[in-house]
């Protein structure tokens, strides 16, 4: 049972999410409706994109805390170029280009100069926010053209063009990480950088491209933000980097690198957003939001940590037991080291072994 939970982290989270939806539905009739689901989905788009980008970086055993500022910077570039009369597709292209460039700078610092990623992105967090503010002169960008706001319009089934784009990104990312050789390189780099390098994996370019991907995702999140909100405040994206890291951890992406899946992140973002919406339905004052989010995050983490430790202990106990059993059958003079490899040890998911 324990092993099942530890191994199927994503499935466990999925079940918890369904149970939570059910419980809230019981407590507040009317929560379980198509319109709520559509609202939750729409509200989760920005965090979802940022979390996907952060996931790429975390899988390579780095961290990106600058994504909130990249979001703000690229959204500001989008808003300024739109208000300067540049056509929407070109403006979005510029915006994503700026995000990718910002990510590339992070990647250069980390993969090129060997700066620890948390330090590098902490610096660029301030740098990009400052760049954004000096671009806009500290003023909010308002009166965005209708063309961008139309992207967030409901297409009739509860979703918008933005929803389709995010689902597309999700699908591409999932396929990329699961099905392609390059996707595997990301996990290999994060799991054991030196080993990956010795296998001939270009670890530096992998880390670099993870940061570029994170920048592009944050920029795309900026597009979604601008389309949904309709204006770009100075603090656009402020603090979302921490939420994205929290969503990744909740979704089973290990901060030690090499473990994680797009599906897990997808579910955990929906879960976190659903809780925010549920508080509204349960008529809990908004100031409880952070407290509840923090409590849930910590509870899940502690439970997860305890389960993993229990699994570890059980594996060790099993190994010990079978090891002793084997020793008894063999000649007593035999050193135990030779017997150990012959014993079939239970195979568990890589994360259980950490």
């Amino acid at each position: 049972m324990l092993e099942l939970f530890a191994r199927n982290r994503v499935a466990t989270l999925f079940v918890i999410t369904l149970l939570t939806f059910g419980a809230i539905g019981l407590a507040a009739p009317g929560f379980l409706s198509a319109s709520t689901l559509a609202t939750v989905m729409a509200n989760s788009l920005v965090l979802m994109l940022v979390s996907f980008g952060t996931m790429l970086v975390i899988i390579t055993r780095n961290i990106d805390v600058s994504s909130g500022s990249v979001l703000g910077l690229s959204a500001a570039v989008l808003g300024l170029s739109l208000n300067a009369g540049i056509a929407l597709p070109l403006a979005i292209g510029i915006c994503i280009g700026v995000g990718a460039l910002a990510g590339a700078f992070n990647g250069l610092l980390v993969a090129g100069f060997g700066v620890p990623s948390i330090v590098a992105t902490l610096g660029t967090l301030g740098l990009y926010r400052g760049l954004m503010l000096s671009l806009t002169g500290g003023r909010w960008i308002e009166a965005l053209p209708q063309s961008i706001k139309a992207l967030a319009a409901n297409l009739g089934w509860g979703g918008s063009v933005l929803t389709l784009i995010v689902l597309g990104v999700f699908l591409i990312l999932w396929l990329f990480l699961r099905m392609t050789r390059q996707g595997g390189y990301f996990f290999a780099t994060g799991d054991n950088r030196e080993a990956a390098r010795h296998l001939g994996i270009p670890v530096r370019s992998i880390v670099f491209s993870a940061f570029v991907g994170a920048g592009a995702c944050a920029a795309l999140a900026g597009v979604v933000f601008a389309a949904q909100i309709g204006f770009i405040p100075n603090q656009a994206g402020n603090g979302i980097e921490l939420k994205a890291i929290a969503a990744n951890v909740l979704g089973g992406v290990s901060l030690l690198g090499g473990v994680g899946s797009a599906v897990g992140v997808f579910i955990s973002v929906i879960f976190l957003t659903a809780i925010d919406s549920a508080l509204v339905f349960l008529r809990i004052p908004a100031f409880w939001n952070d407290f509840i989010a923090g409590a849930i995050l910590l509870t899940v983490l502690v439970l997860d940590g305890r389960v993993r430790m229990a699994v570890d202990r059980r594996i060790r106990a099993k190994r010990y037991a079978s090891h002793h059993g084997a020793e008894r059958t063999k000649s007593p003079s035999r050193p135990s080291a030779t017997a150990a490899p012959a014993i079939p040890t239970p195979h568990t998911a890589p994360e259980a072994g950490r």
């Binding site: 100069f113 967090l125 926010r129 952070d290 940590g305």
Partner: protein
């Protein structure tokens, strides 16, 4: 290694002198002694938190929850004051709240073995939420402050002793205490060793868990002190008092030479870095640079300085690799180890 550290602190002093020269040339009023002294009141609270944070980072951990803990402790004080608790007791309650919160972090990190960044990220939200709930409970609601403090408390923020702001003296005293604690005591040695290698420390009989727990407790305590100092300075306790300290405090520790991987760093470096960052902001402000640009510049400063430091550390590596005629690329381009 020691020479490297010494040189790093010398570089920080150089940076500080450079700031004085440049900003003094742009605006001579910057060098006005009373201006320099009173300017520190705007940033010493960052230093108060950066002190214990240095210990946390050297011992191989990280704490981001102090950013909301500052607000939580301030609100605890404000609420206690609201209900007529006498001033010394209210201050003690705020400090106790900080220590308890630190103990909470330490306990979760110790018993669940999750990375400290994740745990303190969770408690960042938890403490922030608790502060909001608490301030809502006394009707201060949302992000409004709790005010009406006794005059004895609010006057501390502007008190001066021999012409030096009391807050600055408090910081310097704390800094001296922490410097002794880290550099001259057995505990301080243990902090370095635990950061170098927790496993080796455990095998040599060091109380690894207790050392790490102590660093988080101290961070909680200092976050409470910072919360009290800020409430006294602003005359009101707000939930978001500490949110702006998150990045500058970590920046100060890293700029001060502490390795984010643990095992390296010095308190003198952190103290110098606090003044480098603080005076950079002040100087830019007095030079008429808008505050948004100055935030970009201080972020840029961190990036450039740290990139230079790591770049210079990998330079010999690169040269050596070049001499090997590109047969082998450098194995490691960072001096620090990457421990688990």
């Amino acid at each position: 290694m020691k020479r490297f550290v010494l040189r790093w602190e010398a570089a920080l002093v150089g940076l500080l002198v450079l700031e004085f020269i440049v900003f003094g040339a742009i605006n001579p009023r910057f060098l006005n002694p009373s201006n320099l002294l009173y300017g520190t009141s705007d940033f010493v609270h960052i230093g108060i938190i950066a002190l214990p944070l240095t210990l946390v980072i050297i011992s191989g951990g990280i704490d981001v929850s102090f950013a909301s803990l500052v607000g939580l402790c301030a609100i605890v004080f404000g609420v206690a004051n609201f209900f007529g608790v006498p001033l010394p007791l209210a201050i003690a309650m705020a400090l106790a709240a900080g220590v308890l919160a630190g103990a909470f972090n330490a306990a979760i990190i110790h018993f669940s073995r999750i990375q400290p960044l994740v745990v303190t990220l969770g408690s960042l939200y938890l403490f922030g939420g608790a502060a909001t709930v608490l301030s809502g409970a006394v009707g201060a609601g949302g992000y409004e402050g709790i005010g009406n403090f006794p005059a004895a408390f609010t006057s501390f923020g502007y008190l001066e002793i021999f012409g030096v702001p009391a807050i600055l003296i408090l910081f310097l005293m704390l800094a001296a205490l922490f410097a002794v604690l880290l550099h001259l005591t057995r505990f301080g040695r243990a902090v370095y060793l635990v950061g170098q290698s927790p496993d080796a420390s455990r095998y040599s009989g060091l109380p690894v868990g207790r050392v790490q727990a102590a660093t988080y407790l101290l961070t909680g305590l200092c976050a409470a002190i910072a919360g009290l100092v800020l409430s006294s300075y602003f005359g009101s306790a707000r939930v978001d008092l500490g949110t702006a300290t998150l990045l500058p405090a970590i920046t100060a520790v890293v700029l001060g030479g502490a390795s984010i991987y643990g095992g390296q760093g010095s308190l003198v470096g952190t103290i110098l870095a606090v003044f480098v960052i603080g005076f950079l902001q002040q100087g830019l402000q007095m030079a008429g640079v808008p505050s948004q640009v100055s935030s970009a510049l201080s972020g840029g400063l961190l990036v450039v300085v740290v990139a230079l430091r790591h770049g210079s550390a990998m330079l010999p590596n690169l040269i050596a690799a070049g001499q090997k005629a590109m047969t082998a690329r450098p194995r490691r381009f960072v001096e620090e180890k990457t421990n688990d």
